[in-house]
Symmetry: C5
Subunit: 345 residues, 5 copies
Amino acid sequence: MTVNYNLDVSSASIFSFLRLQLRWKGSIWKYLLKELFMFIIAFITVSSVYRSNLIIGEKTRKIWDNFAALFDQNMDFIPLTFMLGFFVTIIVRRWNDIFANLGWVENTAITVANYIRGTDDRTRMIRRNVIRYMVLAQVLVFRDCSIQVRKRFPTMESIVSAGFMLEHEKEALDNVQCGKLQKYFVPIQWSTGLLVDARAEGKIAADLLMNEIGKHIIEFRKMLALLSNYDWVPIPLAYPQVVFLAVRSYFFMALIARQSVLLDGKEPEQPSILYPTVPFVMSILQFIFVVGWMKVAESMINPLGEDDDDFECNYLLDRNLMIGLCIVDDNYNRTPSVEKDAFWC
Amino acid sequence: MTVNYNLDVSSASIFSFLRLQLRWKGSIWKYLLKELFMFIIAFITVSSVYRSNLIIGEKTRKIWDNFAALFDQNMDFIPLTFMLGFFVTIIVRRWNDIFANLGWVENTAITVANYIRGTDDRTRMIRRNVIRYMVLAQVLVFRDCSIQVRKRFPTMESIVSAGFMLEHEKEALDNVQCGKLQKYFVPIQWSTGLLVDARAEGKIAADLLMNEIGKHIIEFRKMLALLSNYDWVPIPLAYPQVVFLAVRSYFFMALIARQSVLLDGKEPEQPSILYPTVPFVMSILQFIFVVGWMKVAESMINPLGEDDDDFECNYLLDRNLMIGLCIVDDNYNRTPSVEKDAFWC
Amino acid sequence: MTVNYNLDVSSASIFSFLRLQLRWKGSIWKYLLKELFMFIIAFITVSSVYRSNLIIGEKTRKIWDNFAALFDQNMDFIPLTFMLGFFVTIIVRRWNDIFANLGWVENTAITVANYIRGTDDRTRMIRRNVIRYMVLAQVLVFRDCSIQVRKRFPTMESIVSAGFMLEHEKEALDNVQCGKLQKYFVPIQWSTGLLVDARAEGKIAADLLMNEIGKHIIEFRKMLALLSNYDWVPIPLAYPQVVFLAVRSYFFMALIARQSVLLDGKEPEQPSILYPTVPFVMSILQFIFVVGWMKVAESMINPLGEDDDDFECNYLLDRNLMIGLCIVDDNYNRTPSVEKDAFWC
Amino acid sequence: MTVNYNLDVSSASIFSFLRLQLRWKGSIWKYLLKELFMFIIAFITVSSVYRSNLIIGEKTRKIWDNFAALFDQNMDFIPLTFMLGFFVTIIVRRWNDIFANLGWVENTAITVANYIRGTDDRTRMIRRNVIRYMVLAQVLVFRDCSIQVRKRFPTMESIVSAGFMLEHEKEALDNVQCGKLQKYFVPIQWSTGLLVDARAEGKIAADLLMNEIGKHIIEFRKMLALLSNYDWVPIPLAYPQVVFLAVRSYFFMALIARQSVLLDGKEPEQPSILYPTVPFVMSILQFIFVVGWMKVAESMINPLGEDDDDFECNYLLDRNLMIGLCIVDDNYNRTPSVEKDAFWC
Amino acid sequence: MTVNYNLDVSSASIFSFLRLQLRWKGSIWKYLLKELFMFIIAFITVSSVYRSNLIIGEKTRKIWDNFAALFDQNMDFIPLTFMLGFFVTIIVRRWNDIFANLGWVENTAITVANYIRGTDDRTRMIRRNVIRYMVLAQVLVFRDCSIQVRKRFPTMESIVSAGFMLEHEKEALDNVQCGKLQKYFVPIQWSTGLLVDARAEGKIAADLLMNEIGKHIIEFRKMLALLSNYDWVPIPLAYPQVVFLAVRSYFFMALIARQSVLLDGKEPEQPSILYPTVPFVMSILQFIFVVGWMKVAESMINPLGEDDDDFECNYLLDRNLMIGLCIVDDNYNRTPSVEKDAFWC
């Protein structure tokens, strides 16, 4: 489910910052909680080992210090923020593209309602089916891209019982022979086929108008195809692999390298039990920011998945069908009577 | 209200720099003022504690120094500028998209005026209503995206009394049954429905011309849909959360870590009361630039909000209705008489 | 006036580098000259103070050294290059968009010449006026966006006397009532209105052809609208403010912080009067590169302004009118006789 | 073959991270394996030389240490991550463009099925050939861009025997005289030529409909042309050269510079045989991340090549033909009977 | 001439790396050779001065060391890689745009061949001339943008003798009066004018079809206009100036600053004549990468120039004419006979 926080940021003030941080759903806190907890436990455990005189002696601790200093010297070999920055930018662009191509039926539905004229049952059925077939195509595509939709429609029967398809249409769909290829195109072909029938029956006044509806349906199909292609060809696997691994390795190293409290390689002269809190707090903060940034990428890499922020595909399907039918049938030809408006003169 | 400063930067000189800095409305100063003030107070307070011999002793101060040095060593764990840079770029792109899709009626209005012919009252009413319904759809969408517009139109009645809708249209709108879904599409359907009527009544000469007007209206609807979708699915919450938190944590740390004045871990040999001003001034400057940069992002993240720089949605609605009616009615068929121009030969 | 240097860089050699540097108009040198001079004067003045034993004593100089070292330690708090890099990228994108939408009339003119047939005076006048009204709309928009054009056309009369508008058209324009709103749309409506007249008089053979010309004019109007919108809503003021301020503060700091010549906090053992030249030269170079980079942004932030590199709006208006009239009238129906070409076989 | 891992990342958890890392095909591990192995061998070899007292003496080792320290001081002269970041961004954009323009036939096929009416053999053949010629053009283009396709179709005969072309068509193709230029356009011309024939024979009802199919075919051709042009003009050679060389040189340097284990130029006081593992482990990790990142670029620079992640061009060709024929012939006019849907009321 | 290396990178292996590096044409080596050579000579010369006891004494060398150390301290004032990264990104985007708009005639030619029917001489001539005039417009534009084309066509006569224009067309072109403005539009107007004639003579069956061809020609003109505009308004001069100057200054500084071999300001204890090779080698490498990166930008900044990687404009012109004539004339109406394909059933 997408998470909306626009009201929280309607103006740029300190309160909008706080409101933003206190949200839970889809928040960085929810994504991070488990891993942050694990990191803290691990850090404290290693710290205990390092500081306890029982487990390791003074000499070992010195060696550890040197060891840590060596790590620290080389820690920036891992180009963390840079890789993340570029990677997130690419992910966000892809996420935007997918979002812009989810597919809405309003444009087609409005054109159908205007250009397929008639109030008899058959004309009404044609109008309704043109839209329903479009949404059916969307169901078929979304089933293969989105786990949410797959869970809702595990079988073809479940699509029938949800009303997106009739029994005889399911049979027709099953009868289409095209090897192992996806049948996304079939409902679209039905949908446009109905236009040709409607034109032949005179329900559409001109080829131009039929063609205009057809263009809208093709436009819709292009969006579905783009979704399906993005699902077929993700960003090359190696890219997220290398980025995600870099982040995790970095913090694994940090567990060892950030235990000693040294200033310029020597212990500070004035002892204080507060010192060890500094690397602890700073590592936690770094973990929150860097892993949090990575989580943003992880949650956007598959926007049709099941994260809090992922697009609500099931909702979109229901909405498309309901709005579509409403436009082409219930709302058909219900333009209010033409009257003079308030500014008439 | 948007803030225009183009005249100030019409040429790249030192004066254009000064003029730019001295603006208040929508300026970095206005956004920052409160927080900068709080930061300065906090910095001075912590400074007083650090420097006062009454509150902490010499030894504690040494510990603090070491503490600060440790923080300083780890301060760049927070990848501040990098995160901000990438984040702002994404925000700016989104802001641009929203801006490009606010929706203007001129194109449709000009086409309506040219293609729906007639000067009788009914034809005039049709032309006016086509436009008014478009703006009505915009009102409905903006009410849900923009707080400014919501405040102006808290109820449907308020839209009627502002003249964007007539009483019987409000009833028709209320009667549309589509569950809990938004009714943005209804006025658009009315608007295009009027075209079909006008064509049937012969006020539009050809299907092609009717279709052309329809395309402009659909184009307008697409823009509204895009706005509405951007409002429905913002940038995943975790992204601004992690960026904004990083910035604030950084400066919270800085309050503690930037009190001591040490060169290579030692106090400078020549004492001077001027030294502490350096970390103070530099922290203030850094606060201005980094938090200022972040404020740019904050103010752009919801461009339909209430910041100084946010788009003037209410103005746009009024303007669209006024210009639209002017084009399709007042200015209908008023092309000046065709005469020879100054370069005729 | 735009500055063209393509010939200088037609191949990537050391000479193309030199030729590029030696240009003056629109060059970094021209933009920088004044400020660079001021910076050098200021640097030398501060240097004299620092080095002169008359003004400050040895002890004060030591304090200054420490002071400078402290500054130097914190100088990278100002994320200069990063902010500039991202900012310039955004500015360049905007500059590109504006450039791509300046508006040229050729497409419309060619279509007008082909689809509005006839050589009688009235037909010729219609063709000429369609184009002239387009350019007139451009004049109106540019007057509000570009200072150059505003200066050329301070009043409506000046537009008439330049031949872009006739006297009776000016009256018609004055008579349009639309409150305080811009009347950019009026000439466009006239232009498309003429098409409807020409179609009614049979000068255009089909609705399709009339519509095609109309689409080109609407396309042109969209470009003007985009320009006008970019002018209405600039990049939020706070962004250039924060960037430009960061740059100037940085170099102000540098004046104080870059006077002492110390290696690892101590004066070099072998004295030489050459040492002070290093921070001087390097600061000058940094000034040239960083402020130069900023100047690029400053000069592009308002591309319709008066910088050397800004678009030549007045030229564009004249050119559009001249080319447009040439196409639709002088060059009307002058296709050369159809003959066999050199490759005929 | 493209590698799909969307299911692995359907939600952002630690498990999705592990599942992602454990994949082999198209993974960073597969790309890196050989070079990583070589790097490890080389590193260990150089290490043995450095540490063995037999080969080099204590004094030589000291020199080596100084040598390494000097290298280390200058290692960041190579702007590794920065170059990679920008380069990868450019490569990814290009990869996206190519992917978006691979060319699918569904839109055309659906339009052909709807607008070319008739069930006689000739009409069926026309419909089939329109599609087949489109795919044939794709075969010709892909042969020159993709090694996979070239291997499958080494000769024109192999295209005939695969059924994409008939014998007499091959002859016709051979007879086209256009010097050494590519004949990609020929099948497209045939395809659109068939439309003209079908229109003349009355199989297409109107010019508008013929033109609509033609537009889809031209759209398809544009995509092929874009692919072919991207193949003709790659990113200027010098760019990948300089980036790839920088990465390899860096790690070659690292072999020498990362042998000594020094803290601030001195050996750590507490000896431990563990120390040398630090530069070893960190260099390996850096190698994985940086070279891995570069491999992402290498594998995307020619997306029609033979890497695991490259697009499956042969599959696309077969699929396009099969789906296309299915739509225009098998599935012709098979719209299910129009019945009342589940939500009828 | 563009340089193609796709085959070398068809898979991401170490061999593809080597093959890539060994290319010469358009390679980084070719671009760099001269300057790299000069830099090496200069470096060695300065080194000799620095190291020779004859020229400078021990004391001067010490001063030089300090001098160099001071430079080194301030060397990162020049934000080299950052400026280059952003600059190259902008250049690449522009290069892409230009490349995408070079202009190909196939789409128009195919439409012309299909929609202008007839095999008589006049019809053939019309078809041929429509295309030839398009290419002629391209010749005129390219002459002003590309030095290659200018060299080939220094005069109008040379265009006639190359067959792109006939003598009487040249006269007609000369007779067009439009002041000093470019006459790019004239051949386009002729080309579309021929369509109107063809329609009037009944060679084109419908206005719709004539209009469709016209749209393709206008599309082509838009591309030419974009090229011409990019040539008219380059990226503001100051941007390349500041970037290129930064790079060269940096390496000029480096000549002086990178002579001494010091570790933490002192000479290494164990003397070795190998030490000076480190700054030498590293400076060379840095020169290769940084200047190489800059050369990428230099070679792309004017993609219609004469670099190895620049677009082959002359080839494109010949190809366009040849392919265009082939499509509209030689290949006119040569669709193979319609037969059953291999998958018929």
